[in-house]
Symmetry: C2
Subunit: 768 residues, 2 copies
């Protein structure tokens, strides 16, 4: 059974009732982030039950020493781990002499968590009875400011209900934290300096090896009935990596006492002197004040929703699901900084080293392109451009490639590989293709060609060079092949001629070639600069073309399908529907060899190629390949259902499309994979967005024009979404009886609906 404790609500994630079994799951689900930092929904006060502590700072990582069973040449010696950052939320509390701890209270009533996605804050409230009999009503609100993205705010209120109470607040900051998945149980933080002034304190620490300097800070105010008491700490305790204040207040029964704690991080990525920066940002935040900070937060989230909201009418769980996905994506990445990327767990957990997978290019960029200014997607492309040298180094030093061939890492933080299984690190090379495709996709969607002559072309050349060298010639077949790869379907390893890989390799070379020609004509200066820099000759281009024009693609004429790889039809082709349910999920029930020799597919592979390059194939081809491969697909990757949902919708298999949509949109809320306590699946959330917009809405960009073929699952009354298309906001609302298209601003926009071009003007919405 999946979990099902989150209350359905259009705008909030709500948990009611305290259950120690759910603490870690809720810590993930109620995580908050602001693109620059984020944290799990750990309790502020001490909790002696099971918990998974996590606070994360974007761009701050630690190169952990690689752990393997058997070393293989080309493995990275170190790789970047998502780093648990110093704790700034902690507030130890004593009530009438007893340490307050939900795990030891005799009674907890009215326990409620709410993550208000509309306004961007997290609230926890309850009435607890301590062992000493004191009954207190507690309400805590926390948010990470979007405006001042180095600052988080906690407003922690306690009202003694049945007697007067002496309340001791002991807020602290602590750099003595560790990572749960550290390879060698090492400490990652070296404390440098601890100091305090009045109600403020600062712990400066740096990461070992990478030497990122971070000042973690706090500023505390004690209030009674919302009036600041202007108290100073009674006492201060300092160690080399922790500082803690003590405040004590006497609170009459029924009166509300509270502590407002500002906290956060200033980091050497952005500041010379991090403590000075911390002092300044505290000053700024204090000047704005708690209430205005909260109001600013609400306003900032309103702006985000204004552009990216999707409404679903008649299905509150689906509505809650899609908003949770959009909310989490925005908490994780806002696109302001090209040094950052979209980690698979965002700020909700520390699993998986590194922050960047091909997920970014294949799944996330479409979402960010359509719901933000184009600068955001451009920053994501620039991230890869900035790491091109490392990708060239990777191909050269680890794989023996020459001449500027670039292999981007499977997982990375700073451009270096963060993965160490040969079948992935060394063989799942299709990732290079998605990075080139994203450049194409960005231009297709935004119409902004400037990125290619400025930066993109160098990336395309490095990637084309990789594919050219990675292909090998089979004298037997007289064609070029790509041997020994792992495709998107990671339930096959070291296979030959993965259709998707061969196809995108050929496409990368062709596309790079075309762009070289185009830049030569339209941006001759850039062309000259780049060709000289990368030392590309016509002779080399001819060699590329030989490979691209004579690439081998495995297929079955009989079935009219491409083969996922050589020999696929030799498998025992038992369909998923005929597989005993007790055997699923196969990745938990079967040994790896059995998974590998089975025909079962983890996520779209041939169909990923059909998704990227849909116009290269007929609808009949799509149908044959979809029906064949989907029947063997177990969807054991969170990235699987969305591509299938989009294609099912295209093939008018709306029941299937809807079923796939459901699997992805509430994956974490309903904890399908029983692992949400490790963190949420952030990047697949973009796939959910794609399922609606590209799947049900049929949104495409072709020839500089938006296309739609709206469909609606029979379970819904209606849905709507918006697209930022080249600075015009297009709103699409779909019901069973028809669709409405409207556009903001002053200019008309020609769109194509169901194959027909139509003009939408700002004054008149178009109904079809």
């Amino acid at each position: 059974m999946n979990q099902d404790y989150i209350k359905p609500d259009n705008w909030s994630i709500i948990e009611e009732g305290f259950d120690i079994e759910r603490v870690k799951s809720s810590e993930s689900l109620f995580s908050i982030g602001n693109g620059a930092m984020g944290q799990r929904a750990n309790f502020e006060e001490n909790y002696s039950g099971e918990t998974f502590q996590g606070s994360y700072i974007a761009g701050i990582y630690y190169p952990d020493k690689t752990k393997v069973g058997w070393w293989k040449n080309g493995y990275p010696k170190y790789f970047a781990k998502v780093l648990n950052a110093p704790n700034w939320i902690g507030i130890e509390i004593e009530v009438n002499g007893e340490a307050f701890d939900l795990h030891t209270c005799t009674k907890i009533a009215d326990y409620r968590r709410e993550l208000n996605m509309k306004e961007g804050w997290y609230n926890r409230s309850f009435v607890a009875t301590l062992q000493n009999g004191t009954e207190v009503a507690v309400n805590i609100r926390r948010f990470l400011s979007l405006d001042l993205d180095e600052v988080g705010v906690i407003n922690y209120e306690i009202t003694p209900l049945n007697q007067d109470a002496t309340i001791v607040y002991k807020p602290y900051i602590d750099a003595g934290v560790t990572n749960e998945d550290a390879n060698w149980d090492e400490k990652f933080w070296e404390p440098l300096d601890v100091n305090q002034q009045e109600n403020q304190a600062f712990v400066t620490a740096q990461t070992f090896k990478t030497h990122f300097k971070v000042t973690t800070f706090m500023q505390n105010s004690i209030l009674e009935n919302d009036n600041n008491l202007n108290l100073s700490p009674l006492a201060t305790a300092k160690t080399s990596d922790k500082v803690q204040f003590t405040y004590e207040v006497a609170v009459a029964k029924g009166q509300k006492s509270s502590i407002q704690k500002l906290g956060g991080y200033t980091v050497s990525l952005n500041h010379e002197n991090t403590q000075e920066a911390a002092e300044k940002v505290i000053q700024k935040a204090l000047a704005i004040g708690y209430n205005q900070l909260l109001q600013n937060q609400i306003d900032a989230w309103a702006k985000i929703w204004e552009m990216s909201d999707i409404t679903i009418d008649g299905d509150v769980k689906a509505q809650q699901g899609i908003r949770f996905n959009i909310f989490q994506l925005n908490q994780t990445y806002l696109g302001k900084d090209s040094r950052l990327n979209i980690g698979p767990k965002g700020f909700t957990g520390e699993k998986y080293g590194g922050s960047t997978y091909w997920d970014t290019e294949a799944y996330c960029i479409p979402f960010y392109m359509a719901t933000k200014d184009q600068e955001v997607a451009r920053n994501l492309l620039t991230y890869r451009y900035n790491q091109l040298d490392k990708a060239i180094e990777n191909a050269e030093q680890n794989l023996g490639f020459k001449n500027g061939a670039a292999l981007y890492p499977m997982v990375t933080m700073n451009g270096e590989e963060c993965h160490n299984e040969w079948e992935i690190t060394h063989e799942e090379i299709h990732r290079n293709g998605a990075i080139a495709f994203a450049i194409y996709n960005y231009y297709r969607f935004t119409g902004d060609y400037s990125y290619i002559p400025e930066k993109g072309l160098e990336v395309l050349i490095g990637i084309a060079r990789f594919w050219h060298q990675r292909a090998s010639f089979s004298t037997q077949k007289n064609q070029y092949m790509i041997l020994g790869v792992t495709g998107p379907n990671e339930y096959e390893n070291n296979i030959n001629n993965n259709f998707y890989t061969n196809y995108i390799a050929k496409w990368c070379i062709d596309f790079a070639n075309e762009q070289i020609q185009k830049v030569a004509i339209e941006f001759p200066k850039d062309h000259k600069r780049i060709i000289e820099k990368v030392k590309l000759s016509d002779a080399e281009l001819q060699e590329w073309k030989k490979v691209a024009s004579n690439m081998y693609f495995p297929k079955s004429e009989e079935l009219g399908i491409y083969l996922q790889q050589d020999g696929f039809l030799d498998k025992e082709l038992v369909r998923v529907k005929d597989l005993d349910k007790s055997q699923r999920p196969i990745n938990q029930k079967w040994s790896w060899d059995r998974v590998l020799r089975s025909p079962y597919i983890k996520q779209a592979d041939v169909l990923q190629g059909f998704y990227f390059f849909e116009d290269h194939f007929s609808i009949d081809e799509l149908k044959r390949n979809f029906e064949f491969y989907e029947s063997f697909t177990v969807h054991e990757s969170s990235l699987s259902p969305c591509v299938h949902s989009i294609q099912a919708a295209k093939l008018d298999k709306m029941d299937m499309a809807y079923e796939f949509y459901l699997r992805t949109s509430r994956l974490d809320l309903d904890d399908y994979n029983k692992e949400v306590e490790e963190g949420c699946h952030i990047t697949s959330m973009a796939g959910t967005w794609m399922s609606i917009v590209e799947g049900f809405g049929g949104m495409r960009v072709k020839n500089n024009r938006l296309h739609f073929t709206p469909k609606i699952p029979k379970e819904w009354k209606g849905y709507s979404f918006k697209i930022n298309f080249r600075n015009q906001i297009v709103k699409v609302a779909v019901t069973a009886s028809g669709s409405t298209f409207s556009v903001d601003g002053n200019e008309d926009l020609t769109i194509n609906v169901n194959g027909k071009d139509t003009v939408v003007s700002p004054e008149n919405a178009l109904s079809i």
Copy 2:
């Protein structure tokens, strides 16, 4: 450059001159063992330079917690590591108040190590000048008794040369040892008891988890000019895991002082009360006395050589090489105990978890069959029989097989898997075939059928069941296939239809079937017992036959060869001779993906099949396959050259055969792979023996008759070897001008030489 410091000598391994760079290599090369225990040639006295300490007890292991990068279902959680055992050889020495340490002496002259293989002892001698100016001549002899195989003996002699000397001897035993390749830096030994009486001391410790109890003991005597001074220790120091005595003697210039230290292990595998056993064995050894113990050692080794020696005339390095190999094999395993096996590093290092690979069946059994009584090979077979239940459990629990199918582990100590790479653990399943083949080979060689009805048949059934279930049906090819394997050539992973695997799988099923029929007729009681025990039905047998009779074998009609696996000819087929030398060894120069997609072969794969089943193929087929595959073989496994040497000799490519022989016979002495400091390659040493006997000598057993086709490399004047064929000792001596065959005992023996049957009688050697 390979090392080349070992002095050529027919019977001894000799090092001259002290070089700190060679200490660890020599510790491996001068290792001693007696089948029950063994140790690296570590110094007795303290040494502050770099050293790799190792002492090992047969059958004593520790299940270390598995270390992996990414966990896969079916990996063993723990696996047995070769365990560094308590140290009993240590003797700290002080000369005139200075701790004696070769690393701090001001001068070392006449340094010489000798491993006398003929007599089975190790000697180290030198003249050293201490920092205090005292010059001493030192001579140490050490051996591990073959007769009393729990006892080792050290005779440590010191003669002050330039002044009188006060010499302090501090012999100790120490259970506070660790393993260099422990996965988690844990301690493996728990000390239980330390005590001493007079000149004897005992440290009893047990291994964590496995709870093997071991008493490590010592008994010390101090002598002057070979007269026992009957000294008692001046002092005794004890900790929880160590005990050390202090003796002090005043030695006049030119007089010889010595300490004789007996030491060793008594283990709970063999004794209820290990300390009592230790006391008894000390008593026994003292009663025999040092001189007689040494004489017994010489006699025991003479017996071993009497049966297993190979002489080579005209090539002292080749002679030294083959004797070193035969000596090490006998140091490692003597076949007395079916709980033991032949570890790949023997008692010379701790690398590789587990002690048993398919090396035992494929490479070692022929050596032991031909040079020992048949009981020895039978013990090796019994070892696998005793682990059949674990092999069934392995197939069932880790791989999901049913019904008594058995998959033997890739590496094991106690029957459980000790390896954790999916491509090996889960996919290198051909090992099962060699285990069945060894049963056949034993019967073929010894004529002793009794093993099959007694024990072997159950193993054969378990293995046949495995292959039956592991094969899958390809509707496309209408044949059975074996998908997703790693063959003997580990430079390919997760391939489909490895010819060798498919071939031996079919053979295993056929052979099991034949033996079931034969046992049914000849041993009906055993047949009934076994069939009832394993619940084997005729219906199941019919299913087996379907698979065996319709197995798919990949081949190229055009080239007239079997394909190593599906798709082999799609590779870029650049031969090894055309590969730039700078790229070798490819396993050190290339990333793993590049190795995998290359055509390069680590060790015989198709050709291993041609070796096992040579009579199934014509000489033309062998020639075509050999010439094709050998040209892609890089021989980067120590097990590679021997099979190629045998086949080259068969194909009259004597120069190649000789070249391959050279690579294997001095692999460790000349340290070809620059890793001898980690220990010697014990199992491949049996391959060297095979190269001479089966390769140059052409020895085969067919239809219960020995066959020979003697050839000789042009570099040699002559060579000779002996074969224990069914209790008749056949001696074969070959020179360029002819061969001589003689037989011991009273009975004539018909042998086949160069295709002709001939009678050899004990009175008349046969010269051809």
